[in-house]
Amino acid sequence: MRHPQLGGAGLRRRRRPGPGHGQQHEDVQRRRSGHHAARLHGPGGPGRPREPLVAGGLGVKPSVKPVLPPPLFNARCKACWFTLAVLALVVASFWSLDLQWAGLFSAEGARAMGRFVAEFWPPDTHAAFLAKLGPAMWETLAMSAVGTALAAAAGLALALPAAAQGGARAVARTGLNALRAVPELVWAALLLIAAGLGPMAGTLALAVHTSGVLGRLFAEALENAPTGPADALRAQGATRVQVFLYATLPTVLPQLLSYTLYRWENNIRAAAVLGVVGAGGLGQLLAFHLGLFHMGKTASILVAMLILVALVDGLSDRLRRWMAR
């Protein structure tokens, strides 16, 4: 974008000495900005001379109108086209799907949904069932925690080259794309064959897919981080790893932690996928009882999941608050 009146030649030209010149340019500028103002704000808009509240308040006579920015469309053109493209995609999506909203907002619809939700009450709290729920919770917690921890380590290792410049970047990015393009279910099927039924296959399936996800999120967080501290160390000749440890990591740590914890939460829920590999946990219980319309039991399982998710959510909130203090 170019600002014909500002920053560039316009001002420097005006610097030439001589009162006559100064006067003349001031006039030129007034005319130009007046023109702009009229175009952008319409007559009487902010471009017009104003009463001294603004400028006069500063002790400045509004004799010179500031130069206005380039026309709106030009300035934000890229953004405009992008927004248009997104809007087009959204409209096309809704249009091609032919969604049925009608029933949703009717009283009858609300009642039908309400009846379903009401069936979840009361949750099943028989000792026998709770005795099954406890180990399942533990198993889910273990699979998701270990899977996420492995993934965080692997993701970080991949994110470093993926966020750096150079040849390794493309390779690392492709690797990350492949890891997460393959859904957990496919990884589960593959690992099921390699590792047999059981939590190990489930944990590894979670870990492999999640490292692709975390790797990407980490890489972008690293790229979006302010570079000041890192530049300072780099200019000093510190190695890449040192720059990362002493400048970038402390800056992005809250972000990385919150992504990791968030993914952990996600994996607690994703454990549903893992029922298929016989890995058990809450996911398999949920699929079993929901499929059989055991609403009370399903409700208890949902509550158990909610508790785990809320625990992790609370942990992440705590950690952030602790770090932000």
Binding site: H3, L6, G7, L11, L40, P46, G47, R50, V54, A55, G57, L58, G59, V60, P62, V64, K65, P66, V67, L68, P69, L72, R76, P226, R325
Partner: protein
Amino acid sequence: MHVQLEGAHARHPAARPEAPDALRGVGLQVDAGEAVALIGPSGAGKTSLLHALGLALPLTQGRLRMNGVEPWALNAAGLRAQRRELLIAPQTPPLPPRQRVVTAVLAGRLPRWGLLKSLASLFYPREAPLAHAALAPLGLADKLWDRVDRLSGGERQRVGLARVLASDTRLWLVDEPLSALDPTRARDALQVLLAAARERGVTLVASLHHVDLALQAFPRVVGLRDGAVQFDLPAAEVTPERLAALYAQHEHELQGPPPVADAPPPGPAPVPMTCR
């Protein structure tokens, strides 16, 4: 705006338990339209005092009154209304990266704007002439459309000052407005600030490390040390002795640390505080 602080104690929420309060019994009274300079050694509590005055740091003891009312006793809406009347310009202006100068300056007017106007202004700056008028006396008119993260240190600082000028408030709390400016621009900027405050009848409290400028430009100077007011005098009565006492090193700063292996030698006798 008339501001009155009595026996004010304050501490930062994140301060270590063993750290002393940042403010320890500050009493201060500033009349409407008055201009006061705040001086004192590093860590004395200047910033903390400005934050206390600016309702950004609640008092743990003591009392703050603004135009007679106690703002902390107000309900949320009242407190917010009170905040709209004042403006803190921090030591290093916390400008978000990627923002443009015009937006950063106009942010000073947000409290006067409705939501719609503020959102619209993100897309096309409203009141750009106002931002321009605030930047011009600081010599930054030509940076109006630049991005703040592409400015030099002194330019950023002046953007922070321009936000003060553009705002429409009754109390300006300015924290070291001149630290990154060269002597000429520092002097000019201070004058622009003082003139604008005088003209609009705004109360101005500024912390400064430029003692000479403070003594010269402000009618009244407050010396702060260890979280307490050490003197509060007309500029003419601030003697070199007082200043020497104000800025004297703490003993532990001079002796405290254990004798260290290869510390640089004590250095030649301290440069006396006169120039050239």
